[in-house]
Every structure is written in C-alpha cells, then in structure tokens.
C-alpha cells in the first residue's frame, strides 16, 4: 500500500503542485489548507506517514501546527517537512526543536521533495 502524505498549504497552487509530484512518485496524498485543518485531517486519516507543511498560513501557522502535533500523543512521531518561503535560521532552529525533519525553501524542486519524502517515510517505516 502506498504511503499516505498530508500536504498543508494555504495556496491551492502549491497543494496541487506538491500533490502531483508525490502522486506521480506513488504516494497517496491528502491535503489541508492550514494548521487547524491539518490536525483534523490527521485525526481522520490514521496512518498518515508524513506531513509536508507551509509555515505562513492563516488560523494556525506551521510552527503552531508543530507545537500542537507534538502535544498530542495520538499522532506519534509523524515526520514533518516544512516547505516555505522562509529561510531565517532562528525559524529553522525552532522547527527543528519541535521535531521537524526537513526544511525546503520555495520555489522547490519536485525531484528533491520526492527524494526527501521517500527517505523520511522509509526511515519511519
């Protein structure tokens, strides 16, 4: 069975672009428009193996999403890769301390994202 990936971004274009790249690589993709939606989608989709998450989003941003994710033991240690326009070292460090496994600065190269997701899902399996 293909690994299920949750893509979280307030931009429809980015969700579609990431979804297309991951689907073509054999992953199963679900999406969410912000951190609140992502927590709900994770709860409804047990067994999600990785999250690709934007940082700047309305309602709940990517860093707040990480904080909430780590507080909830039901989500276990689902790996998260941040995909964002942000490149600030302090923000990257904050995400790392909250357990993020990767950081990609937009615009992203689809092959690079697929390689990262493949590596992290294999490691988590």
């Amino acid at each position: 069975m293909s690994a299920k990936i949750l893509v979280v971004d307030d931009s429809m274009m980015v969700r579609q672009q990431v979804g297309r790249a991951l689907t073509a690589a054999g992953f199963s993709v679900i999406d969410a428009v912000d951190g609140v939606d992502a927590l709900q989608k994770l709860a409804a989709n047990q067994g999600t193996q990785l999250v690709v998450c934007d940082v700047n989003m309305p309602r709940m941003n990517g860093i707040e999403f990480l904080e909430n994710l780590r507080k909830d033991p039901s989500f276990g240690r689902v790996p998260v890769v941040m995909l964002t326009t942000e490149g600030q070292p302090e923000l990257i460090q904050q995400a790392k301390e909250l357990g993020a496994k990767g950081w990609i600065v937009k615009p992203f190269k689809p092959a690079l994202l697929v390689a990262a997701v493949t590596k992290l899902t294999a490691a988590a399996a």
């Binding site: 931009s11 429809m12 274009m13 964002t84 600030q88 070292p89 496994k101 990767g102 615009p107 994202l113």
Partner: protein, 184 residues
C-alpha cells in the same frame, strides 16, 4: 518629490534585490522572463483587466509593500498545470507568486542584516489601477517580459533615520536560499 540620496541608495538595494529575485523565481517554474530595465511604462491603464497582489512587510526601521501586477493571460501561463482559471485560482496563483517573490527578497535582505516580517497577500483586480507612491519613502515599477506578455512588480520602502544595510557578505550557508533542502 525625489527621495534623498541616502534613501535612494537604501531603496536601490531593495529594488535590485527584487529584480534579481524575480529573475530567479520565474525560471524555477520554467517561465522565461526578461527584465526590461529601461522600461518606464507603468502597468497598463485603460481597458486591460489586471490582477494585483499586495503584501506588506515591516522590520526594525523599515517597512513597505510589494505589488505584483499582471493580466489574466500572463498569470495563467505561470501555472505549471492546465486548469480552468476561475477567479479563485487566479487570485491564488498571483498571491502565491507574490508570496514567493517577497519571501525571496526577504531571505536575501536577511543576509544584509534586515529582518522582515511579511503579511499575507491581498488580491485586487480591475482596470485603471492607480497606486500612489508611499509618503516619505521610495518606489519604482519594474517591468518583466514573458512569452505571454508583460508583468510588473513594485516594491515600496520607507526607512527611519539611522537605518542601514550591512555590507554584502560573502556566500554563506547561514541563510537558506531558494530551492534549498535541509534535513534537520
């Protein structure tokens, strides 16, 4: 009124950064783009229906906004896929490109010591857009040519007294660049 020499020099750093960021961003989406450096035309007026994304930014002693403006056919060509361009998709596309463009400017200026916080994009569409220059600051339209037509970008910047950019540093790994991937 012309900005002072000091403001003009500070603004040139921001403006040059905008141009270099745009010339890297669009090719990353396989959009060929040329900067029309001598083009002083402002965005088209009259009957052309255009879309504009505006994002404000602020840092210590500096603030302003990015405006990205393009007609529908040009925005459609920015999409990497074939979709029916509804108003929502047009808004989303120009909003995301403006977000990535200003994000790239922000990351580049971070290396010059300016820490900027960005708002989220606001989208407008219509004809006869008129955007006055910010009072006490500087701005300039930049024009870019693609196979589907021209688009326009403008960064507004106002600086408080005493604001400076640090000298351009040598290449470093301290700030993540566009397209970078890091395992944490």
């Amino acid at each position: 009124m012309e900005p002072s020499t000091e403001i003009a020099e500070l603004f040139a750093v921001v403006d040059d950064t905008l141009v270099s960021a745009a010339l890297e961003l669009f090719p990353a989406y396989e959009i060929e783009v040329a900067h029309l450096a001598d083009e002083i035309e402002v965005p088209p007026s009259g009957a052309t229906h255009i879309y504009a994304a505006v994002i404000g930014y602020a840092g210590e002693c500096v603030r302003g906004a990015l405006v990205l403006m393009a007609p529908m056919d040009v925005i459609r060509s920015w999409r990497p896929d074939e979709v029916d361009m509804t108003e929502a998709i047009l808004d989303d596309t120009i909003g995301e490109f403006s977000n990535m463009l200003l994000g790239s400017v922000k990351n580049r200026l971070l290396a010059r010591g300016a820490v900027l916080l960005l708002a989220t994009p606001t989208i407008a569409s219509g004809i006869n857009f008129c955007l006055p220059a910010p009072s006490g600051g500087a701005c300039r339209w930049q024009c870019f040519e693609t196979v589907k037509g021209r688009f326009y970008a403008r960064v507004d910047a106002s600086f408080d007294a005493g604001f400076t950019f640090q000298p351009e540093p040598p290449a470093t790994d301290d700030v993540a660049a566009d397209g970078d991937m890091m395992f944490l």
